[in-house]
């Protein structure tokens, strides 16, 4: 419990760092938010008034502090283009992204782990080569490619699933597969090599000497050990899932955080962009925390050190 609190406390400097970085970055990129907001034909007076209203006339550090204070009060500012509070926009979009990420992760983990196990137990035989071929394709084909491919086959040709998503579960199947495909590949490779390693361990001999058959040895003794490193990797993949979601959501028009982020970049909508980046960071950190906790549940050796 103490360890968990310590981990949560250590998130705060990371968050402030991220805020600082995005804040600075967005102020050094060219393009003045006021002129973006107003277009070209406005009087200097209007521009000045708006600059003042948006606090852009204050020194940078003052802007930053008021921003940080706002964040801790749950106020992420108002979107320039959508004219609505960023917090509300994010909370509206988040359930869709969450669904997409969870479905993608579920696909990646289930398919990846199963494929990895099959490949490991048929090491250097046909199923191994087939699954590892697929996983290599999974790892190396970029998301937008697999997304387009899936759209072509399952929506356009077979007409099984909708081409774009409105956030409903069925409409999220294709995006989730596109998103999870990549991770499934790396999970499969990791599971395979880890399981092959574990099968060399002494306690595997012990289990067999006890009279356990191969299947039981793998399921009861090898798998739990083999999945320890895979769990860490799966958590790290949450972050790549988040960046993958940006692309996937654009391709499938999923109304989620990723699409908010792309929109905000296109429109130089700084408050919205800052908000989405910050929110995503929090998600990734929480994902890693969850992985650590899960790890200590699975591995009794770590539980004791806490």
């Amino acid at each position: 419990m103490k360890a968990v609190l310590k981990r949560i406390a250590s998130m705060i400097p990371v968050l402030i760092g991220v805020m600082l970085l995005t804040f600075i970055l967005l102020r050094i990129v060219p393009g003045d938010p006021v002129s973006i907001l107003l277009g070209e034909h406005y009087s200097q007076e209007t521009i000045d008034r708006l600059t003042r209203a948006m606090n852009l006339d204050k020194p940078l550090w003052e802007q930053f502090i008021s921003y940080v204070l706002g964040v801790f009060r749950g106020n992420l500012g108002v979107s320039y283009t959508l004219k609505r509070p960023v917090t509300a926009l994010i909370l509206e979009a988040f359930p869709n992204t969450l669904k997409l990420a969870l479905m993608g992760a579920a696909f990646a983990w289930i398919v990846g782990i199963l494929a990895g196990i099959i490949a490991a137990v048929t090491q250097n035989k046909a199923p191994d080569h087939i699954f590892m071929g697929f996983s290599l394709a999974g790892v190396s084909v970029p998301i937008f490619m697999s997304a387009l491919f899936l759209q072509y086959v399952f929506s356009y040709r077979l007409k099984l699933l909708p081409l774009t998503s409105d956030g409903s579960a069925v409409s999220l199947i294709l995006p989730a597969v596109a998103l999870g495909w990549n991770s499934a590949g790396s999970v499969a490779r990791m599971t395979r090599s880890s399981l092959i390693d574990v099968m060399e361990a002494d306690y595997i001999d012990t289990a067999r000497a006890k009279g356990l058959l191969r299947t039981a040895v793998i399921l009861k003794h090898a798998l739990k050990n083999a999945l320890l490193p895979v769990i860490t990797m799966m958590a790290l993949q949450l972050s790549s899932m988040m960046s993958g979601a940006v692309i996937t959501e654009s391709v499938f028009s999923v109304p989620g955080i990723g699409r908010l982020a792309t929109q905000s970049i296109m429109n130089r909508d700084m408050p919205l962009l800052q908000g989405t980046i910050l929110f995503t960071t929090v998600l990734v950190i929480l994902g890693n925390l969850a992985a650590d906790l899960l790890y200590s549940v699975v591995d009794p050796r770590i539980r004791n050190e806490g």
Partner: protein, 329 residues
């Protein structure tokens, strides 16, 4: 058959087919374990002791396999058995404990469960409480203090000696006829070693169980063995009752082994060793595999593989000079 042997190994050849050549790890081993006795198998690291044991349990890993020979457990041939049939015997008729108690237990499972599993595999599922009772009883028997608490412990929470006791409990719980112990005390310190050896000896006496103990430690041999096999480069080079082995050592290799035990009474400046190293099993020397390290080697030793000859009662030796030696001595 019907002989007084629980285990009979005849002309066993186990080889590893690696990319860089065939390794003849076990090269025609004959070995008997008499019922109710403790038989020792000694030799340096890499001489094929462990592979002999693993051949019995069907634990030889790819690219290794049993090429030829016969392994009979209580009259039943084990080579050529289907995996499923062999596993049925393992844990029930014959069980094995390993050298490294640190790595031989699954780190993520409670030790009680791991021992109970040995029951469940062979007996099918019974109630958890019953299983636990039985495990706790065997824990007591092998001298694990506070067996109730230990039942739910993880391996890393136990000392090396306790882990080895857990391994023994696991091996003993089905009351096997034969226990194969592969260097069971090598990883333990000497006081714990003595306890574990005594425990094995007692269990053997109580249950009429036979033991094949693999070791490189002549002290262990002297302590508990009834009969001893000395192995060198995949072959048995000497077989003798334990006293005879120490008193009327026949093979030059065994003499070398015995001479390299440090003695308090001896010259403290000088520790006897056998010159050279165990030969590369891929390129075994011709003739007697020991000839290039043997102080007495003659030209015949380079040419011909010596046969086993009887040099005393129940005392056999694979050496061209064996007969002459005992006649002189």
């Amino acid at each position: 058959m019907g002989s007084g042997n629980i285990l009979e190994i005849r002309d066993l050849h186990t080889s590893f087919f690696t990319d860089s050549g065939v390794v003849h790890a076990v090269n025609g081993v004959d070995l008997d374990v008499p019922k109710g006795k403790i038989t020792g198998l000694v030799g340096e690291s890499g001489c094929g002791k462990s592979i002999t044991a693993k051949s019995v349990m069907g634990l030889v890993r790819y690219p290794g396999r049993i090429e030829s020979g016969s392994i009979r457990l209580d009259g039943q041939e084990l080579t050529g058995l289907k995996e499923k049939e062999l596993r049925k015997l393992c844990g029930q008729e014959v069980s094995m404990i390993f050298q490294e108690p640190m790595t031989s237990l699954n780190p993520v499972l409670k030790v009680g469960r791991q021992v109970a599993e040995a029951l469940r595999v062979h007996r099918g599922a019974t109630s958890k409480a019953e299983e636990k009772q039985e495990v706790i009883r065997i824990f007591e028997k092998v001298g694990i203090p506070e067996p109730e608490q230990r039942f739910t412990a993880y391996p890393h929470e136990l000392s090396g000696g306790l882990r080895q006791r857990v391994m023994i409990a696991m091996a003993m719980i089905m009351n096997p006829k034969l226990l194969i112990a592969d260097e069971p005390t090598t990883a333990l310190d000497v006081t714990v070693e003595a306890q574990i050896l005594r425990l094995m000896k007692n269990l053997c006496g109580e249950n009429g169980m036979s033991v094949l103990i693999i070791t490189h430690n002549m002290g262990v041999v002297a302590e508990i063995c009834d009969e001893v096999y000395v192995m060198y480069a995949g072959r048995i080079v000497e077989k003798a009752p334990v006293f005879s082995l120490f008193d009327e050592t026949a093979h030059p290799y065994t003499k070398g082994l015995l001479a390299s035990i440090p003695r308090i009474s001896g010259n403290p400046e000088y520790l006897s060793t056998i010159p050279g190293v165990v030969p590369n099993m891929k390129y075994l020397p011709t003739g007697c595999a020991f000839h290039n390290r043997c102080p007495l080697a003659s030209e015949k030793c380079v040419r011909e593989v010596p046969e086993m000859v009887e040099t005393g009662e129940g005392h056999f030796c694979r050496c061209h000079l064996a007969k002459a030696q005992t006649a002189r001595g």
